[in-house]
């Protein structure tokens, strides 16, 4: 059991490292859908969302594109873990060895 917990923690740390340290080096070229939309003249149909806190993975009010991306990655990774964990904690009963998902 301890071994499994270690795996889970290491996996999480690995995700955080990817999100924080590697994300600034990611390619900024348009992705597959964007490229198709640009090439075939429907990109302009896109409606920008105005509400988002960390739009386009750029943490606001931070200097430098690398750091703003890193922070976006870090926050996002923690948030996704938190949301998933909390969502499931409401649903999954304790002390049940139920069916596999």
């Amino acid at each position: 059991m301890k071994d499994k917990s270690l795996f889970v923690v290491c996996f999480f740390v690995f995700a955080l490292i990817l999100a924080f340290a590697v994300s600034p080096f990611a390619s900024s070229a348009p992705d597959g859908l964007e490229r198709v939309a640009m090439n075939h003249d429907f990109m302009e149909k896109a409606i920008e969302s105005s509400r988002a806190l960390i739009k386009d993975y750029e943490f606001p009010k931070v200097e430098g594109p690398a750091l703003s991306t890193s922070l976006a990655g870090l926050i996002g990774t923690l948030l996704v873990f938190g949301v998933t964990f909390v969502f499931l904690k409401f649903l999954v009963a304790k002390d049940r060895n139920g069916e596999r998902c």
């Binding site: 490229r35 969302s49 991306t69």
Partner: protein, 214 residues
């Protein structure tokens, strides 16, 4: 492949919202009987997929691709938890990062959650029958299915775009499938590497490996 608002017709978005919501309700009901010790693994798998999705890699023609992770999640967690993970990731991406439109969120969840995770999982179950019942055979099926998950998800997207008159079918379908066939190679490489590694150190954590005889 995160579709912004404005590309897809509203009625298609509504249908996809209904499909996504229904699937989420079904999965949530099933989730009540999941073992609680699996929750951290589900959480970190979601975290990893989110992080990996940020790491765009260049492919041809001034275009990049990124990991989808839906099939990886299905291998680690089974199809239903994988759907849940993708739905939650896509929702966070939409609401916090404006990655994918809010009106189009149901469509994105259908493409990358229902099709990306659940359909690809069953595709895997079918083709895995034809390969040796060892880790090597398993990983070959994983490679093919990972690639296929991206291709069929993008095909669904192309179909939705065509029906929405964003672009004619004979143009948008080959365009989407060809670029995503390349991206799918990246998906296969990453998925096989990740699953292969976890199989070596903790095979019991790979749900699809544990269930391989079912």
């Amino acid at each position: 492949m995160h579709i912004p608002d404005g590309f897809i017709r509203t009625d298609i978005n509504i249908i996809n919202y209904v499909v996504s919501a229904s699937t989420l309700v079904y999965v949530s009901k099933k989730a009540r009987s999941w073992p609680s010790e699996k929750v951290p693994l589900i959480g970190v798998t979601a975290a990893f997929i989110f992080a990996a999705q940020m790491l765009n890699f260049p492919i041809l023609g001034g275009t990049s691709g990124h990991f989808l992770g839906a099939f990886f999640a299905a291998m680690m967690l089974g199809p239903l938890a994988a759907f849940l993970v993708m739905a939650l990731i896509l929702t966070v991406q939409c609401l916090v990062f404006a990655d994918g439109g809010l009106v189009a969120l149901g469509t994105n969840i259908v493409n990358m959650g229902v099709i990306g995770a659940i359909v690809s999982y069953y595709f895997f179950k079918v083709i895995n029958v034809f390969f040796p019942k060892n880790q090597k055979g398993f990983l070959i099926s994983v490679a093919i299915s990972s690639w296929m998950s991206v291709v069929i998800a993008s095909s669904a997207c192309a179909f939705e775009l065509a029906v929405s008159a964003a672009s004619p079918f004979h143009i948008v379908f080959p365009a989407m499938v060809s670029v995503h066939s390349l991206i799918g190679i990246g998906e296969a490489i990453i998925t096989v590497t990740a699953v292969g590694f976890i199989l070596k150190i903790h095979p019991e954590m790979v749900s699809a490996w544990q269930d391989r005889n079912i």
